[in-house]
Symmetry: C2
């Protein structure tokens, strides 16, 4: 019986996820009736391959077994468990017990001879076959019992027998399971979102891709990995929105980039004022030279001026009066946006066209896609589209912007999205953060949902930032960047600490969504150097930030403390954050010395990579004080004392 | 999407379990992409029936839904979940919001008219069809908008539409699930095990079924539900064991009843010294008259003298020297017992013969079987055999005596056994008991494994009883009888408080397994009246004892306290036991007043059904003191104060 395989998502309906180079640890309950010993193997292969690789599983006790394999390459692997009764091992164990008890074992040796002879007959290795035949003959022969026992119980025979087990009655786990392996950026990366149209050096001019290259350098200097652009396509004019989401626009208002499509084209065109497709290609190339990847926003909706409205009116829902149904959330109307009808008669044609949108941009060097509101489109579309794209472009990464209920967020992650927007933006207190992070680390989430913690977005100007001042921006940045592998900010407002509230509770005043802005990157009070430092810490040692997370007790409600551990115990970071942007806070922190390999009797160094200071600590309880006026956080590397004092460098 | 259905055992591989008359509560996560409202139904039917019964599910929040159904009859039921988009409800909600916002809704009313007209066309009920047609016409017509809206938003229309949903695109849970429903005795009963051969009134004579009738009356008087007999078949003479498991027997030694089979017959015969098959039938009938059921021991193994050894030597494993392999656990040999080879060539013949053993005894009025060591026979045999037997005799109950590792115990329960022996016998301290009971109430166990807590067996003379004296017997009896629905004792040693230790750590001295004993049921110090009282309490109100279990805080390590609750809050019992047989213990008990419906400002009565005393308590913390010298336990019924004082009986 092979039961309770872990990981196994929804009875094998979905794959679990890993990053290339990661290890997949698999456990299962494996047992049989009777008293026979078992052999179990974990097998794995690239999906589509014919042959399996097998790894012996080891018993953990109480019928739980374990083995692991490394997923070297991007793509899908399959895995499963196979087990069988170990006839020879069972016989050998019984024989050994009888010998120990001084019993006569002539008959047992004859039974063993038959088992070994059968293995000899099975063996396809001629040397092993000969060895086993000889052993079988020796067991079956009369003569010196001591000599026969020596053969029977020898490690050499055991090892040879192990290579030729009788697997005719082997048992298989009920289902072949899968793991989807992606590249590192799927699980680790710092994202910087900005509007290219606000990059012109002259006030009032529409920014271009050429202008935006300076912003690329700015993002690269801050140490980001991904720059993510809101939609870059032609913007509709019908019902175009004015500044601050005004229902009517004036001449010259640029409109919302999410009202996609105009006479110039739709999802496969570039907004003329940003430049040409060739300009975009140059922009992508320059980003690559700076170590940045460009992520595009995929928003499957159309302005009334989108070419598809004319070419494929059947792809939209029509009202009884013949007009096309615009987006709405009663009483709100979004007349500048037509949703696509994914269930229209010609859904195959529509779905193929949408897939081709991805393919178009992949051909232009984009492999990271941030998908707008995927939860308002059919789950089946995403599962199909992502699988189709991955089959040809396994390097593609998909971020789901589904601000909706947890089950739906989770489902989209299972259905194929590499990463997910989360509720992090609204989790501020210690209790909220700890509870939410624990939810994300529950088995159901942890194997399939990779969070991307955005500290703000053009749509979400969090109240915490509106009222917390500069320290608030630092606090939320540290949390976003150290609680998960992927995080992002929408800049330059973020690094300039700008959070003026617009009409809605979480709107930005004079939002770039509806107008051009100009940003002074030298403005006093900015946290550019702080962002730089955080990203440098992350890049220096990536694994802990997408590794395991453990909150530590600290006796102050404003202080939150956690350990992040990478693939080994050496890859450990300890973060302490003061969650109050207004007050200094202090408390006693408890750290698990033994787990960290620290000697309770010796001092150890805590090196704050953020502030640069080093603290000498000893024992499990140590004092921490953080004043948001200077720095609201420590990001510690633990330096263990080395036992040798041959040289001065005795901290590791 | 329909996910995370609960209960669902191993992706539907096994049924969950209930008792006839129980409710099956089913929850699931149900959601869809987009913003449409959903309708979900839980459907169920008798297995094999064509039509489903449907129950509307209710949302619990965050996409979790719930419904329940009552399993009225013994046998298997199937259940599953179906959900679909509620087109009319979604439309109605949108309309309502627009009306509230004062928007113009002409187009919306036309859309609604189309939805209602489609339902009219679908309706097979002519009255409903006419009603819907009229409503559709009213919505589509011009004229007074207020009147049209009144129709559109009316509860009457909503109710009628609800009866004719468009289920063309309904979604089904991935698997049809099953629940196995058994009779009450599968989950609730007090068992009394005894050896008929020790029932003779004269010392040294072999007891008969006729003699054993006195013991039936004794068991009935103590309030037991089931009497369970060790094997009653002819006992082999070859390698017959002598008293206290001596390897050699003297003439006249009766041998072990588990060495089954002799010249007189095998598993379908009665040991001649016990009487004839007709005597056994009379014994079963008399038991029935006394309100007792007879359970038989099914031990699928043979003495060397069993007829099958001669008739079907191929059903046994042979050693290289041609002899039949006896049972062994090196260095121990059990030469009086041959295991059957369930995987022999003629396994079909053997399995059928074993099935026929059950059928034979069912024909003689036995429907409860205690199966000896099921884990040393193939799981597949039990799954097949129990299903075959249940198909014709759904009243059959199977108790698995698998003293082995947890996964295997659990698997046998899933594969079909109604009840399972447990580790209760070795759980003595508060921590051990609480941890073990919590394990048994974990989802994986709770839905499939029904414990039967035996306080002792002929094989297990627990150390706690060996050294604890009379109070120890009372303590373990109360625990066994009040912690689970089914429990048992092996008597008369239990009620006579006899626990003299034999050679092995848990053997009985002069065990009845190997010799005849005589018991004086009037011996001083017996706890017969105590057993009577406990069984009377259980019978008086069965549901709490197989209902939910919750441990309560009590500030004394020797005291354990728990609530048992039946189908309603009224069916609640509170048990407090002193786990020390040696010392008096006292402590403050915390009880959840609100949950029990108790007013913190008024006294309430705690009526000890065991001791007869009544305590007046108030508030959440109350004092309990228990002296094992008088009684080691309270079994309280809570008597709530009634708000009326019209008569004297103001406690309920």
């Amino acid at each position: 019986m092979i039961e309770s395989i872990d990981p196994e998502i929804d009875a094998g309906r979905f794959p679990c996820k890993r990053i290339a180079g990661d290890t997949l640890d698999v456990t299962a309950a494996i047992f049989t009736d009777g008293h026979d010993l078992l052999t179990a193997v974990l097998r794995h292969r690239r999906a589509g391959a014919e042959n399996w690789n097998e790894t012996r599983m080891q018993p953990l006790g109480n019928d739980r077994w374990h083995a692991r394999f490394v997923v070297e390459e991007i793509g899908r692997y399959e895995y499963g468990i196979v087990a069988w009764r170990d006839e020879f091992g069972t016989w050998r164990q019984g024989l050994s017990r009888k010998v120990d008890a001084g019993l006569e074992v002539h008959s047992e040796l004859l039974e063993g001879a038959a088992i070994v002879a059968a293995a000899a007959a099975r063996s396809t290795d001629r040397d092993d076959a000969r060895t086993l035949e000889k052993a079988a003959n020796r067991l079956a022969a009369g003569g010196d019992p001591a000599l026969r026992l020596e053969t029977a119980l020898s490690v050499a025979l055991s090892d040879t027998m192990d290579r030729h087990p009788d697997r005719v009655a082997e048992a298989h786990g009920a289902r072949v399971l899968a793991v989807e392996v992606e590249r590192e950026r799927a699980g680790f990366g710092a994202w910087y979102e900005f509007f290219p149209r606000s990059c012109a050096p002259q006030p009032g001019r529409h920014g271009t891709f050429a202008d935006a290259r300076a912003r690329l350098r700015h993002a690269a200097a801050m140490g980001f990995d991904v720059v993510y652009l809101p939609p870059i396509h032609p913007i509709g004019t019908t019902f175009r929105k004015g500044p601050n989401n005004a229902p009517v626009s004036a001449a010259g208002d640029p409109g919302s980039p999410w009202a996609i499509g105009a006479a110039d084209g739709g999802h496969c065109a570039v907004h003329t004022e940003l430049g040409s497709l060739a300009d975009f290609d140059r922009f992508v190339a320059e980003a690559r030279e700076l170590g940045l990847e460009v992520a595009l926003d995929v928003a499957f909706q159309c302005s009334p001026d989108h070419p598809w409205v004319r070419e494929h009116p059947d792809w939209f829902r029509h009202r009884p009066d013949g007009s096309i149904q615009y987006a709405e959330n009663p009483p709100k109307k979004y007349q500048d946006v037509f949703p696509l009808d994914f269930e229209c008669e010609d859904w195959r044609g529509l779905w193929q066209a949408l897939l081709d949108v991805f393919r178009f941009w992949i051909a232009h060097g984009v492999t990271i896609f941030r998908v707008d509101n995927p939860h308002t489109k059919p789950f089946a579309f995403w599962e199909w589209a992502i699988a189709e794209l991955r089959a040809q472009h396994s390097e593609c990464i998909f971020l789901a912007e589904a601000f909706t209920r947890p089950r739906i967020v989770q489902y989209l992650a299972k259905a194929g999205f590499s990463q997910s927007y989360t509720y992090f933006t609204w989790r501020n207190t210690k209790h909220e953060l700890q509870t939410y992070l624990q939810d994300l680390h529950e088995p159901a989430s942890q194997e399939t949902l990779r969070p991307n913690f955005f500290a703000n977005t053009p749509d979400i100007n969090p109240e915490f930032l509106q009222f917390g001042g500069r320290a608030a921006f630092q606090i939320r940045l540290v949390l976003a960047a150290t609680l998960t592998g992927s995080y992002g900010i929408y800049g330059p407002p973020y690094e300039l600490c700008i959070a003026d509230r617009g009409a809605g509770a979480e709107d930005y005043q004079d939002s770039e969504k509806y107008q051009l802005r100009q940003w002074n990157l030298q403005a006093p009070g900015n946290i550019i150097a702080f962002v730089q430092r955080i990203n440098a810490i992350r890049r220096d040692q990536p694994n802990p930030w997408r590794g395991s997370l453990r909150f530590l007790p600290i006796d102050c409600d404003d202080l939150i403390a956690y350990l992040r551990t990478g693939k080994t115990r050496e890859e450990v970071m300890l973060v302490v954050v003061n969650l109050s942007p207004h007050h200094a806070a202090s408390g006693w922190l408890e750290i698990p010395l033994e787990e960290l390999g620290l000697d309770p009797d010796h001092t150890f160094q805590m090196h704050d990579l953020l502030g640069g200071a080093t603290f000498l600590w000893q024992g499990p309880r140590n004092y921490v004080a953080l004043d948001p006026a200077s720095s609201p956080a420590h990001v510690f590397r633990v330096r263990r004392r080395l036992r040798t004092e041959r040289d001065f460098d005795y901290y590791l």
